[in-house]
Symmetry: C2
Subunit: 126 residues, 2 copies
């Protein structure tokens, strides 16, 4: 796997949903997608895609701070301005296989999200 | 700046404090260190070094999940087991200049930290 291939998939995914082109991003998610996030649970690609549309629609701006790729893994660091929430800094780790994202790990604070009622939405299991 | 140089500095820093060799890590912090963390505030190298010793001493184990470097920047992703807290997933972004770390950005959840009384320690400004 080339580093540039991994990064181009991840960039296309990121540019898709942050530009409200959710279908572009959803097409880059593998059917066996695994999601590791600090709040709520997304057991499959469909539930995560739905959340991406919901949360992405509330995004007022995204500033990419750093991007890295190595083999089939990549990592992004960005600040996003979210409606009803304010600024949220996010680190996102991706694993890519054959042009599709097979695992997404998001790392961010949940304190403001919890106090703003973002926990336990319709997409949550718990 | 070589990618390998940046990563070797960051690895030495990470292995230092996670192995309780705090002096090793503190020596790799530049005097003009800037720190961006989601909880508490560390206006200089000394206050951050003190926090590193305090928090590092409570660390029961660290599992590195991913590492990246590009130019003078690097990023680590790890899970750590912390006394009185449990598991904490951390993404850490570094800028390195002439063998020293000039900026550290930590991204992690603070919900469990806040409820366990980790906010507003002696090292905090606010």
């Amino acid at each position: 796997v080339e580093k540039t291939d991994t990064l181009s998939v991840v960039r296309a995914y990121h540019q898709g949903w942050t530009g409200k082109n959710f279908e572009t991003s959803e097409k880059l998610l593998a059917s066996e997608l695994r999601v590791e996030v600090p709040i709520n649970e997304y057991p499959d690609r469909e539930s995560f895609g739905k959340a991406l549309e919901g949360f992405g629609s509330m995004t007022r701006g995204v500033k990419l701070l750093a991007e890295f790729a190595d083999g089939d893994e990549a990592m992004l660091l960005y600040d996003m301005e979210v409606e009803h929430l304010g600024m949220l800094r996010v680190a996102e780790h991706f694993t890519v296989c054959e042009g599709k994202i097979t695992r997404i790990r998001q790392i961010h604070d949940t304190a403001a999200l919890r106090s703003s009622g973002f926990a336990g939405s319709a997409s949550s299991e718990s």
